[in-house]
Symmetry: C2
Subunit: 144 residues, 2 copies
């Protein structure tokens, strides 16, 4: 399987754009942990490692990463979007605690079937889906 960077380089080449060390640093950092991320947090992680990358460069890169399918929007919370890298993962959904933010990822093949059914019924060309279940985790529901 191609690495994330290779996928991105190919995309850049096909589009006639230019690659830069900043972009590779950002992508490297996104894939450095399994966690979800948001722009500010990603920026701080890069800064901590003494990498000189500005926030606008991150904001400008995100649409391309979405387009390549390397990342996707995960959820909107605390006034901003949170993303996750999906390249190399199976598609998954989220079970998220409203109180502490704990997130569990799970796979659900039945949703793919449902997607196909909808595509047919409504004559849509499906690009993806987001299934988010919210509630209280074991610990938090005990203290409600």
């Amino acid at each position: 399987m191609k690495s994330e960077i290779e996928v991105f380089r190919e995309f850049i080449r096909e589009k006639g754009l230019r690659n830069t060390p900043e972009r590779e640093l950002i992508i490297g950092e996104i894939f450095a942990t399994h966690d979800h991320f948001d722009v500010d947090e990603l920026y701080l992680r890069l800064k901590r490692k003494k990498h000189k990358v500005s926030k606008p460069s991150i904001y400008r890169l995100i649409p391309y990463l979405l387009e390549t399918g390397l990342i996707q929007e995960a959820y909107f919370e605390d006034g901003h979007l949170h993303y996750e890298h999906i390249y190399g993962h199976e598609h998954h959904c989220h079970l998220r605690c409203i109180k502490c933010g704990k997130t569990i990822e799970f796979q659900e093949k039945s949703l793919i079937r449902l997607e196909k059914k909808l595509a047919e019924k409504y004559d849509f060309s499906i690009k993806g889906h987001k299934f988010e279940v919210t509630g209280y985790c074991r610990k938090c529901k005990a203290h409600l």
Copy 2:
């Protein structure tokens, strides 16, 4: 079935808060159409009808409406949240066109079963779910 306003009045009373004509106007406007709404659009709709309601009043009301379950967040798009009224509707999910924004609502009982399964498996107390399928509608996929 109680009207939306009655539900809200009851909530206000129980909480020891105060009701106002502004709040009733906002709620009335939210339920005046079947469409989704966002704050700015709702504000303009009220303005057009010569109703004097400020945006902060809308913003301050929304958390209460979410708490009563009269409305819910529908999706984040164009830099802000979109809501929909759900009181009196069956729970539904969205199929949305990425290009033109056309949205189809559909019901899916199987998701409730899935929710229950997850609740058991991960020991969560489930509050709700959001299932959003995105793609291109018939018209838009023709012009890709």
